[in-house]
């Protein structure tokens, strides 16, 4: 149905796509696999007309085509469901859909078509609601409905399950199977290998902008697919036994109102993290993770005794004072939160270490020491950088994440709170960071990991709690929780209505 030959797309000196070939057949669910930065998104944008290739040709149903714009792609019958949703928060569902349709149809008629289609596919959606009120899963439904309303012959889906609960993902797979059954082709972009093996008929693997393999995923193991993606064997995490000690972080009925119009309120959150253990908080994005992190770090104050670090009530204390108690924090957003994009690495070290790292004297900066510390972080965590002390923004996602994690770990914290430790980084960096967290706990620190990535959580956590609608479930030993139960809790099911885990011994 669709064939791309020799696609080349350069950004400056970087060839994001370097002679990529791809063929997707009718009724086929075709996986496009690759690490972050392998060129998947660029290729997809080229196919959808959002980017123009520097070289290469595209054939659609056998005919040579130039896809000049997304509108042209849609006219051909190519639809797209975006990873970072291309939605407008301030507009209604119907308006959002209208913006993706070529017609001059009235909003009313679009709304009735949305209702009909969402009923037919079991994707409930109210056309009159505003997007900012909707959950992540509902937002994805808008994208899917918008795409389906154009009756596309090829549907491109970019990382569709990364924001869904396992149950929502199952629902999506059923929909995809049905669409493929109707003879539509689906180009499915992901880095989740189990999904690919379960769902996809064929897979194209990209690495550093080139196609390294075309395989039939059902005949491969996940490990083999991972090797193709990464180019080498992936090291498993080594667990080291540690005995859980005294609680270093305690939350006692922490409640916080939302700090912005569309924020999530935290309700009655209680949790304790002991020395030597990793506790993970699972949950779908936007269920209060950011708010919880801010309350833990002290970026937002709370009731004094709602947060205790090493027994000290710190709810009213700022982040610097919490750091002085031996706590360290790594937020989700690398650029703009954990690091200032256009400051150098040595200045970014100052950001979290100015109060604890001996980097100032009488209010003056000791730049030499900061540079030395930055160099130590880079050496310890194998941070690859252009130049001696470059701007944070010039590092790749994985290297910057290693830097901001390393910056905190070199302070030898007794408590580490980290939000999405390996979100959007390459496999090598993710393994390194996870191993570092495990090692830190083994040395007797308490580690709290907030993550949307269940694979990551199951890989490193000793205990798991689930956050939904700003409420936190009880933390259960990781070995006692099934994926299904975590999924139900993530979907916001009331803890009592979810069957208790089998007794763990």
């Amino acid at each position: 149905m669709l064939e791309a030959r020799g696609i080349v797309k350069r950004f400056g000196d970087l060839a994001a796509n370097d002679g990529v070939d791809l063929a997707v057949g009718e009724g086929e669910i075709h996986a496009l696999l690759g690490e972050n930065g392998a060129g998947k998104s660029t290729l997809v944008k080229v196919l959808y007309g959002a980017l123009q290739p520097d070289e290469g040709e595209i054939f659609w149903q056998g005919a040579h085509v130039e896809i000049a714009s997304p509108a042209a792609a849609r006219a051909l019958g190519i639809g797209m469901v975006f990873q970072h949703f291309s939605l407008f928060e301030a507009l209604t569902v119907a308006e959002n859909v209208a913006l993706g349709l070529p017609t001059r149809e009235t909003l009313r008629s679009i709304a009735s078509r949305i209702e009909a289609l969402s009923a037919a596919f079991g994707l409930p959606l109210d056309p009159a609601r505003y997007v900012h009120d909707l959950s992540v899963g509902e937002r994805q439904r808008i994208e899917i409905v918008r795409c389906l309303l154009q009756d596309p012959k090829l549907i491109i889906m970019d990382e569709p399950t990364s924001v869904l609960t396992p149950q929502e993902a199952d629902l999506l797979f059923a929909t995809l199977g049905r669409l493929a059954g109707e003879g539509r082709a689906i180009l499915y972009i992901t880095h989740r290998l189990e999904e690919v093996r379960r769902l996809c008929d064929a897979a194209t693997v990209l690495r550093q902008g080139r196609v390294v393999a075309g395989v039939s995923p059902r005949r491969e193991t996940a490990a083999a697919l991972a090797r193709l993606m990464v180019g080498s064997d992936v090291q498993p995490i080594e667990h080291r036994a540690a005995r859980a000690g005294a609680p270093l972080l305690e939350l006692r009925r922490l409640s916080l109102p939302p700090d912005r119009v569309l924020g999530t309120a935290l309700v009655d959150i209680s949790l304790s993290v002991r020395a030597g253990e990793i506790v993970a908080i699972a949950g779908v994005a936007g269920n209060g993770q950011g708010e919880l992190f801010a309350a833990l770090s002290g970026e937002r104050p709370s009731r004094a005794d709602a947060v205790l670090i090493d027994g000290a009530p710190v709810g009213q204390r700022g982040i610097t004072q919490r750091r002085r108690l031996g706590a360290a924090f790594v937020p989700e957003e690398r650029l703009g939160h954990s690091a200032v994009p256009h400051l150098t690495l040595s200045e970014n070290v100052l950001l979290t270490r100015h109060g604890t790292g001996g980097l100032t004297r009488l209010g003056f900066l000791l730049r030499g020491r900061a540079a030395q510390l930055a160099a130590e972080v880079c050496a310890a965590f194998d941070v690859r950088k252009p130049g001696r002390d470059p701007e944070a923004a010039s590092l790749s996602g994985g290297n910057l994440q290693k830097f901001v994690v390393g910056r905190e770990l070199l302070a030898e914290p007794r408590l580490l709170v980290v939000n999405q430790p390996s979100w959007g980084v390459d496999v090598g960096a993710a393994v390194m960071i996870r191993q570092a967290l495990v090692d830190l706990a083994a040395q007797g620190a308490a580690v709290l990991v907030i993550s949307q990535d269940l694979d990551e959580i199951l890989e490193i956590a000793d205990r798991i709690a689930v956050i939904a609608h700003g409420r936190l479930s009880e933390a259960h030993p990781a070995s006692a929780l099934s994926l299904e139960r975590i999924g139900l809790l993530m979907g916001g099911a009331h803890p009592e209505s979810v069957p208790e885990p089998a007794d763990a011994d």
Partner: protein, 303 residues
């Protein structure tokens, strides 16, 4: 009757604010903050007056004012869309540039006088007591401002292009991903805003005070910007705000005329103080995030 001339002057004082602010509202709805309203307005006043004197036509003068505002807006668009320059600084540059250039253009026309733009006269209707002069006896600019108000409301909420414009102001990245021409829409919005500011300025020198003085806008462009914030980016609230400000301006003039023993400078400062008060009150109830989400952020498409 005192009320009738009072209302008439309030309407004339409010009209330039309304017109300029409506243009800026559309610009800001597309996600662009053009702080150069004052500069575009004063250019409209000067060019409008000069052309009206030279041709003897208020209509040609108004068109020249629109053209001057749009020309300046085009410079702003080149800066902020073409070069992705800082919008705040570019807007300030536009104001400084416009104040200077309008002075150069109008230099030879200081002191020139002409009759103000004619008022509408509909036999019968305009002669009705009280409502006649107010509803049917205004000049063309006032009717144009009302038409503009209705037109902008209709455009933003009843047309597909208006929907696209609001979407771009909310999230240009998504709009671009869907294939909408972010920069083109913003360019057109900026030009429209410039035309409105120019028209508002032309009204000052052709209708409100029928002569030209250097810097005669006296901060009205800035007040128009504040009105957009006050309106929460909704046109009918903008009209409310503009007439409110017209009232403040006129009442302080009346108060000065009656000599209430208050220093005239304090009365003259009232509209500016009122602007600050209004900004504080509205920001307090809405918070800073009430405007279009992408307001003031440059957008550079990847090619």
């Amino acid at each position: 009757m005192l009320l009738e001339p009072l209302l008439l002057t309030i309407i004339t004082a409010a009209t330039p604010l309304l017109v300029a602010a409506l243009g800026e509202l559309v610009v800001e709805r597309s996600g662009v903050l053009n702080l150069g309203v004052e500069g575009m307005m004063v250019m409209g006043a000067s060019c409008g007056f000069v052309v009206a004197i030279l041709t003897g036509s208020s209509i040609l003068g108004a068109l020249a004012g629109i053209g001057a505002g749009m020309a300046l807006a085009a410079v702003f668009a080149l800066m902020t869309l073409g070069f992705a320059a800082n919008q705040v600084a570019s807007g300030l540059a536009l104001t400084i540039f416009g104040l200077g250039l309008s002075g150069l253009i109008g230099a030879d026309f200081v002191g020139a006088r002409r009759d103000p733009a004619p008022k509408l006269h509909l036999a019968g209707l305009s002669d009705l007591p009280f409502v006649g002069p107010i509803l049917f006896g205004e000049d063309g600019f006032v009717y144009a401002s009302v038409a503009l108000l209705l037109g902008v409301s209709w455009f933003l909420w009843r047309t597909r292009t208006g929907l696209m414009l609001r979407a771009i102001g909310d999230n240009p990245i998504s709009a671009h991903a869907l294939g909408h021409q972010v920069l083109r829409v913003r360019l057109l919005a900026i030009l429209f805003g410039g035309g409105c500011a120019g028209l508002a300025g032309a009204y000052l020198s052709l209708g409100y005070t029928p002569f030209w003085v250097r810097g005669m806008t006296a901060g009205r462009g800035w007040i128009a910007l504040a009105l957009v914030v006050f309106s929460s980016w909704i046109p009918w609230r903008l009209a409310l705000g503009a007439y409110l400000f017209g009232a403040v301006t006129i009442l302080q003039l009346y108060a000065q005329g009656y000599g209430l023993g208050v220093p005239s400078q304090l009365m003259s400062a009232l509209p500016y103080l009122a602007t600050i008060l209004v900004l504080v009150a509205i920001s307090r109830s809405h918070g800073r995030g009430a405007g279009p989400a992408s307001l003031g952020t440059p957008f550079v498409p990847d090619h």
